[in-house]
Symmetry: D2
Subunit: 133 residues, 4 copies
C-alpha cells in the first residue's frame, strides 16, 4: 500500500502522528471493503432473512469507513473538530458492526472475518482519537 509514501510526500506540516494516520487509513480501507463483501455474501446465504440487520450495518459501516479514510487522507486546512467527530462516528459504526457480525460468526465465515476487521478498525479509530486529545 502506498498510504505511507503519500504521507511522506505531503509538502507541508501534519499535526498528527503520521504512522498512526497511515495505520488507521489502511485498516479503514480494509474494513470498508470487508463490510461491502460481507453484505454481499449475506445476500447469497439461505438464511438471508436472519441477516437483514447484519447487511444494513455492513452497508453503513462501509460508507462511514470510506468517508473517514478520505478525511484522514487530507491534511491541508486541517480542522480537528471534523476529524474527531468523524472518527467517533466511525468507531461507533465499527463496534456495532463487529458485534452484529459476531452474532453470525459461528455460521458464516465471512461474518467472522468481517467482525475481526471491524474490531481492529474500531480500536484504530479510538487509538487515533486518544492521540488527538
Amino acid at each position: 500500500m502506498s498510504v505511507t509514501r503519500m504521507l511522506e510526500t505531503y509538502p507541508a506540516t501534519i499535526n498528527m502522528d503520521r504512522k498512526a494516520i497511515a495505520d488507521t487509513v489502511e485498516i479503514l480501507l480494509e474494513c470498508s471493503q470487508a463490510c461491502t463483501a460481507c453484505a454481499d455474501a449475506c445476500l447469497s446465504e439461505q438464511d438471508v432473512a436472519d441477516l437483514a440487520k447484519c447487511i444494513r450495518t455492513d452497508l453503513d459501516c462501509a460508507d462511514i469507513c470510506d468517508t473517514t479514510a478520505r478525511v484522514l487522507s487530507r491534511h491541508t486546512g486541517y480542522d480537528a473538530n471534523i476529524t474527531r467527530a468523524q472518527l467517533q462516528a466511525c468507531a461507533q459504526a465499527c463496534s456495532a458492526c463487529a458485534t452484529e457480525c459476531e452474532r453470525h460468526a459461528g455460521h458464516h465465515e465471512h461474518c467472522r472475518a468481517c467482525a475481526e476487521v471491524c474490531r481492529r478498525c474500531a480500536e484504530a479509530c479510538r487509538g487515533l482519537l486518544a492521540k488527538m486529545s
Copy 2:
C-alpha cells in the same frame, strides 16, 4: 425528488419522524453536490491559493453529507447510536464549511451559495438530532 415516496413505501416501522428524515436527506444531497461544485469552482479561480482550506473543507463536507444521507435512507436494523454519531459529525462539517465559505462569499458567488446550503444543512442535522433525544 422521490425521497418522500421511497419513505412512504418502506414496508416496516420507522422509529423517527418521516417528514424530518425526508427533509434532511434532501438537504444533505443538495449540500453534498454544492460542496463538490464549490470545490471545483474554487479550482478555477485566480486566487485558488487563498482557497485551499475552502476546497479541502468542501471535499470533507461532500463526503460526510453523502454518507449521512445514506445512513438516513436506511431503516432496517436501525441503530440510533450510529445515526446520532454520524449526524453529529455532519453538523460539525456543515457548520465548519459554512463558516469557511462565508469568508469568501464577498468575492465568489459559488462560496456564497454553498455557505447558505451548508448552513441550512447543519440546522437540519441538529434539528433531527433534537427530535431523536
Copy 3:
C-alpha cells in the same frame, strides 16, 4: 435544489449544455437515493431471498450514480473521455436496475418507484451522451 445556481456561478467556460448537465445531476442524486432506499426496503420484505439480485443491483446503481453526479459536477480540467465512459457505465447500471426492479413492481411499491427513477436516469445519461458526440 441549488444545482443550477452552482453551475451559474462557475467562473470559467463549460463545454457542455448547462441545462442538460443540471437536469442530469439532479436525476442522478434522486436515483442514487432511491436505489439506497429500495435496497433497504427489500431487506425488510418477507420475500427478501427473492430480492437478492434486486438489492445487489440497487447497491451498484447507487454507487455508480453518486460517482457520475460528482464527475458531472466538476468542470475544471474537463476530460470528455472520462465523462463519456462514466456516463455509459451509469446508463448501463440504471437500465439494468430499472429492469430488475420492474420484475418486482407488482409486489413492492418501492421497486415500482425505484424502477421509474432508474428509467428516467438512464434516459438522462443517454441524452447527455448524445449531446456530447
Copy 4:
C-alpha cells in the same frame, strides 16, 4: 488485506478469476487513496494554480476507483455488462490521471507516486476486462 479472505468465504459461485478480482480490488483501493492524498498535497503546493487539472482528475479518479472496487466486491446477482462498463470507465480515468500526474512528477513526489499507482491500476482494470471477454 482481507480482500482474498472475503472472496474465499463467499458462499456461492463466482464467475470470474478470484485471484484477478482480489488483485484488482486491492490496487483500486490503493489508487483511490493515493488520488485523494495527491489532490490534497497539490492544494498545499505553492504552484497550486498550475495543478488545477491534476487535482480535478485526482478527484474523479478517486471516486471512480472507489465505486469500481465496490462493484467488484459484489458477486450476488452478477451482471457482466455493469462490471465491464464500470471497469472501462475506471481504466479511462486511471490512464488519464497517470498521464496528468506524470506531467508534474519532476516537481512533486506525490504526483510521481500517484502516477505509478494509477498506471498499475489502469493495467489491472484492462487485465480483468481481457479475462472477461
